[in-house]
Amino acid sequence: MEFKEMINLERIRINVEAKDWKEAIQKVGELMIKTQCVYESYINAMIRVAEKLGPYIVITPGVAFPHARPEDGVIKPCFAIITLKEPIEFGNPENDPVKMVIGFAALDDKQHLNALQTLVDILSNRELVEKMMNSKTEQELFNYLKHYI
């Protein structure tokens, strides 16, 4: 499963409004449901994982990475990205507040590794992450990813 097969313009939304971290995960999950990547159960599973792991899903400053298990309702591997209109606290003192949420769904351990590797490469480029967070349109954010496709 390559990176370009897992993300498309339909699964990117910028300046999303959310009152708390749960709603932020809900909103990113809705994009995954709308594009037939996961069942509704996956959203609740992502929230449960975040409740259990709490702060650990904020893997780099300003970026939350909610995910759950394949059996929690994944139809096809994908990820979705939202940027938040107002940054939200997820409870991670080092990496809060969160400005961008990347919902991730995988089917098994190996299939999605290429795509995850690409995502890690992107997130380790701080300049690029800042640009993504500050994108004015969905297309602009998608264009930053295109360099990696």
Partner: protein, 96 residues
């Protein structure tokens, strides 16, 4: 250059994608340090048992506390994708 293959265990809360992200950053850090190593992933519960088989454990601050007292040196990281933070942490525990 060290010839011994390091065994590194990446630990996250559930052993899902987050520990894979850790693993990928660890592999980049090893490359930068010119070290050979094998990186495995585990959730916190498994790690408490399997951890003893590793040379180094890499995890977050909070999870490190949950691991309790173990003999394996632990590198704690804040930013899961910051290669430099990992490089420095590994250097510190290996004294290189």
């Amino acid at each position: 250059m060290q010839t011994k293959r390091l065994k590194i265990l990446a630990v996250c809360g559930m052993g899902l994608e987050s520990s894979l992200v850790l693993k990928m950053t660890i592999e980049k850090a090893l490359k930068e340090l010119n070290l050979e190593g094998e990186v495995t992933t585990a959730d916190i519960v498994t790690a408490k048992g399997a951890g003893f088989d590793a040379d180094i454990i890499i995890t977050s601050n909070e999870l490190a506390q949950q691991l309790g007292e173990i003999k394996v040196p632990i590198v704690t990281v804040k930013n899961y994708v910051n290669v430099q933070e990992f490089v420095e942490g590994i250097r510190k525990v290996l004294n290189i």
